[in-house]
Symmetry: C2
Subunit: 99 residues, 2 copies
Amino acid sequence: MIDFSQLDKVIHEKGRLAIMSLLAARPEWRFQDLKTELSMSDGNLVTHLRTLHKAGYVSLTKEHDGRPQTSYALTDRGREAFLGYVAVLESIVQKHKPS
Amino acid sequence: MIDFSQLDKVIHEKGRLAIMSLLAARPEWRFQDLKTELSMSDGNLVTHLRTLHKAGYVSLTKEHDGRPQTSYALTDRGREAFLGYVAVLESIVQKHKPS
DNA sequence: GGTGAAACTTTGTGGCGCAAAGTTACGTAA
DNA sequence: TTACGTAACTTTGCGCCACAAAGTTTCACC
C-alpha cells in the first residue's frame, strides 16, 4: 500500500514542486530566471522560496553585481527530501501505469 | 520542460489522490471500506468524494442491504483524468530519478 | 418506541495561495 | 544631487479549502 501521508506537504504544492524540480535540475538559479521560467509574480515566488528556505530545503546567496541579485540552490536536505518525494511519486506511477 | 499547470487540481491533494488511487485499483469501494483504509473522518471523506463526484470523476451507487450502503467507483472520465495525472508524475520521475 | 449505525449536512476555524500595492536599497542618467 | 528605474523583498487583503466536531435523517433490529 502507498503511504500518502509521507508526501511532504511543503513540496506537494504545484508552485513549490515546480521550483524544486528546477532547482534539482541545475545547481543554481537566479531569482529573475526563476521568475521568468515560472511566470510567477515576484511576491508569490518570494513567498514560496521563503517557505522552502524555512524548511531548510533551499539556500540563498545575495550578491550585488550592479543590481542586487539573489541566487537559490538546493541544500542537501532539500535534495534528499525531493528525492524522497519523487520516490513516492514513482510508487504511484509503478502501481497505475498501464503497461 | 514539465508542464506543472496541467497537474489536475482536483486530484492533486493528498486525500483525494489517495482516494483516486484506491478507486483506480479496484472497480468498486464501499464507503466504510474507504473510511477504514484511509483513516479519514466520515465528514471529511464525504466532502472529498463529493468534490470528485462534482468533477465527474466518481460515480456512486446507493443500496440498502440492511444498513444503508453507498459504493463508489471511477467513471471513465475519472480514470482518464487520473491516468493523465499519473503521466505527469511519470515525467517528473523520469527527469529526476537517480539511475 | 428506543437504540444504534450509515451516510450524510452544517458550522466553525485556521491556514494558505495569490494578487496588488507599498518599501528599501542601490545604481544610473540628467 | 536629484530623479528614475529595477531587484528583491514585505504588507495587506481576499477567497478558497482542508479538517474537525456536532447535528440530522433514515432505517434496521431489539
